[in-house]
């Protein structure tokens, strides 16, 4: 169980952004990373969790962990 947010290679705060804009911005940041590097995404959209899970399955990237907090969700992604 991962309780604390680890250091990541890149961070991305998407605020209330969702749907196509959410995955497009994640893709743009992930494209600059190399395999194994990590990205911490903060996203408050109600659909963010499901979208990020689906996007990772489709693109071969890894959703390592989801950190729920009072203001939204943070998602630790690893480039596949």
């Amino acid at each position: 169980m991962m309780d604390t947010i680890p250091h990541t290679d890149q961070v991305l705060d998407l605020g209330e952004k969702g749907c196509g804009q959410l995955v497009m911005e994640i893709m743009m940041v992930m494209r600059a990373l190399t395999s194994g590097q990590t990205l911490l995404v903060t996203a408050y959209d109600l659909a963010a969790a499901g979208d990020i899970e689906a996007w990772c399955r489709m693109t071969g990237n890894i959703l390592v962990h989801t950190f729920p907090d009072a203001s939204g969700n943070q998602f630790l992604l690893q480039k596949g």
């Binding site: 969702g18 749907c19 196509g20 959209d45 499901g50 996007w55």
Partner: protein, 120 residues
């Protein structure tokens, strides 16, 4: 034969005839054993708000509320476009049973995994 079947519905109270036919087709799909999902986008998202379907009953068809209840009871799922829903000022507390807020990536994954669909 493809198993995921999506009914994309962009209408509700603005076009009850089209919205009703879409839900009839969705019922046919789920009754035929398909993994059926109704994707509500644009004006269609209003159907996922409690009480809205109660005002739609097209002549010659079951009431919209009955169509939706039967669809969900048969195992169909309703996905609601997140930005379309938010744009209209709704919150997730207003959702009907069986409806889930989703974004585009979920729709893309559903359709690209053994899926097909129709749009109204």
């Amino acid at each position: 034969m493809l198993n995921n079947f999506c009914v994309n519905l962009t209408r509700s109270i603005d076009d009850p005839d089209r919205a009703t036919v879409a839900m009839v087709v969705a019922n046919a799909a789920v009754a035929s054993g398909k993994n059926t999902m109704v994707f509500l986008s644009s004006e269609g998202v209003r159907l996922a708000v409690k009480g809205v379907a109660d005002g739609i009953h097209e002549e010659g068809f079951q009431p919209m509320a009955t169509l939706i209840q039967n669809f969900v009871a048969a195992g169909g799922v309703i996905w609601v476009c997140s930005p379309c829903f938010k744009k209209r000022g709704y919150t997730d507390g207003e959702l009907i049973e069986g409806a889930t807020i989703v974004g585009g990536a979920k729709l893309v994954e559903f359709l690209s995994t053994d899926g097909t669909g129709v749009s109204y």
